[in-house]
């Protein structure tokens, strides 16, 4: 057993884990963060995407011990304290960017990661930025639309009211 300590969605957890434990299993089975799902056995689908130290990673391809000392954000940590959805979640909801919803937690986390680096991506940049996430239902059109609209909302909010927008504006802030 190896002792690890990590912050997940703003809460610090200390645990002893077997070194072979995958981060996604630690999150789901030990910490109850079942919003993050497993979709494949080959590191291809991206359904398990979370932010680690602010960067998107496939949590099925990270050992829990590698994440020790890190700040993790899962899809469960995106909404505001009052339960208000993150602009990316809201945009997925409004543009019908999901059907079965299995890819959605990973898609949303990858979109948050992409928009933090590139707040105003072109459609081609959105498609390229989400290449690590597979969706077997939607055909991607509405996912691209949702990310475009979320980007717009986040840019406008940042522009209009910097103080309130900051609650959602960057991935760093949602983890605090």
């Amino acid at each position: 057993m190896t002792h690890i300590s990590m912050t997940v969605d703003g809460v610090r957890y200390d645990d002893d884990v077997e070194p072979r434990t995958l981060l996604v299993h630690h999150l789901r089975d030990k910490l109850g963060k079942i919003g993050t799902v497993v979709g494949c056995d080959t590191s291809n689908c991206g359904a398990c995407t979370v932010l680690m130290g602010g960067n998107s990673v496939k949590s099925c391809t990270v050992l829990a011990v590698q994440a020790s000392g890190m700040d993790i954000t899962t899809v469960e940590g995106l909404a505001g304290r009052d339960g208000e959805m993150h602009p990316v979640q809201q945009a997925f909801h409004e543009t019908h960017a999901l059907q079965c919803g299995y890819c959605t937690p990973g898609m949303i986390m990858s979109a948050v990661d992409l928009l933090a680096e590139n707040p105003d991506p072109t459609d081609a940049e959105i498609r390229d930025g989400l290449e690590g996430n597979l969706c077997r239902c939607t055909g991607y059109q509405n996912i691209v639309k949702a990310v475009r609209e979320a980007g717009e909302t986040m840019r406008t909010a940042r522009h209009a009211t910097p103080e309130t927008a900051s609650a959602h504006a960057t991935r760093d802030e949602v983890t605090t």
Partner: protein, 284 residues
């Protein structure tokens, strides 16, 4: 599936890491970003007794200017390589090829050194390092040694690294005044190269002085296309000479046939992609 059980150590320095690896015995293995190793552990294609995680060895991270070369720490992630101003300015071939590696998530974890140490002939970094004549700086129980790219890749998933050695950094000569290009062909986003071609070319006025061409996924290691290189020396920098030189691309290679492409198709791709890469690198 989940990996078989293993012991875990997380050293903070190169020497400490070499000790851990030696102490761990024959079945101890290095863990870098884990983006090739963890999928193999999960499928139980690999079952090491111990993993030595290099994630906290800070001296192996980052890019440094060393006169006529850049020194890239093996633990520098693909994403850090892409963001690095020295790489962009002095080794654009690496930046261009790195942008085609996998996807954002994998690039956040996977490392420059890991993708070389893994020695997958379908990987993009091995052929790039081969075209750039990079030198590999290695640490082991008996000290440090340097290995040129031409000797580092030994066979499929096999490098010149001994089981108790660590790739510390890679020295990449700056090619001031050269044109470079990486041409990669794959079927879908995030897929590995069916074939890739890394090219560096130096020309004066209308003539090619020197060319270096290395191929991804055309043999069990990355290979230099010597026939192409020889055909180009002293040739005029024209479409015709690029196309003629490109015809030599597959000479001496041993491409495989698999579900994605037949060996014949790979041979054809090598010829076409080499012509395109040469033209772009030479600016014509």
């Amino acid at each position: 599936m989940i990996p078989t059980a293993f012991d875990y150590s997380r050293p903070t320095g190169v020497d400490e890491a070499v000790h851990a690896l030696t102490d761990g015995g024959e079945d101890a293995k290095v863990l870098a970003g884990g983006q090739s190793l963890i999928p193999m552990l999960r499928l139980r294609f690999a079952a090491p007794s111990m993993l030595v995680d290099l994630g906290s060895v800070d001296e192996m991270r980052g890019v440094r200017d060393d006169g006529d070369a850049l020194v890239i720490g093996a633990m520098t992630t693909h994403a850090e390589v892409l963001d690095d101003p020295l790489i962009r300015a002095q080794a654009p071939l690496i930046a261009q090829a790195t942008a085609t590696v996998a996807d954002r998530q994998v690039r956040h974890m996977g490392t420059f050194g890991g993708s070389l140490a893994h020695a997958d002939p379908a990987g993009d970094m091995p052929s790039v390092a081969t075209a750039l004549d990079a030198t590999f700086e290695i640490a082991g129980p008996s000290g440090r040694r340097s290995v040129p790219a031409s000797e580092f890749f030994v066979d499929y998933l096999t490098s010149a690294l001994e089981p108790d050695e660590i790739l510390v950094s890679v020295r990449v000569p700056k090619l001031a005044g050269w044109g470079t290009h990486y041409e990669k062909f794959n079927r879908v986003a995030q897929a590995w190269a069916l074939v890739g071609v890394a090219v560096a070319i130096r020309r004066s006025n209308g003539t090619i002085d020197e060319a270096r061409v290395a191929l991804t996924n055309m043999s069990s290691t990355p290979v230099r296309a010597h026939g192409v290189e020889e055909a180009l020396v002293g040739a005029p920098a024209t479409d015709e000479s690029m196309a003629a030189a490109g015809q030599h691309a597959a000479e001496g290679t041993e491409p495989t046939s698999d579900v994605s492409a037949s060996a014949d198709y790979r041979t054809h791709l090598a010829t076409v992609l080499t012509r395109r890469a040469l033209g772009t690198a030479a600016g014509i």
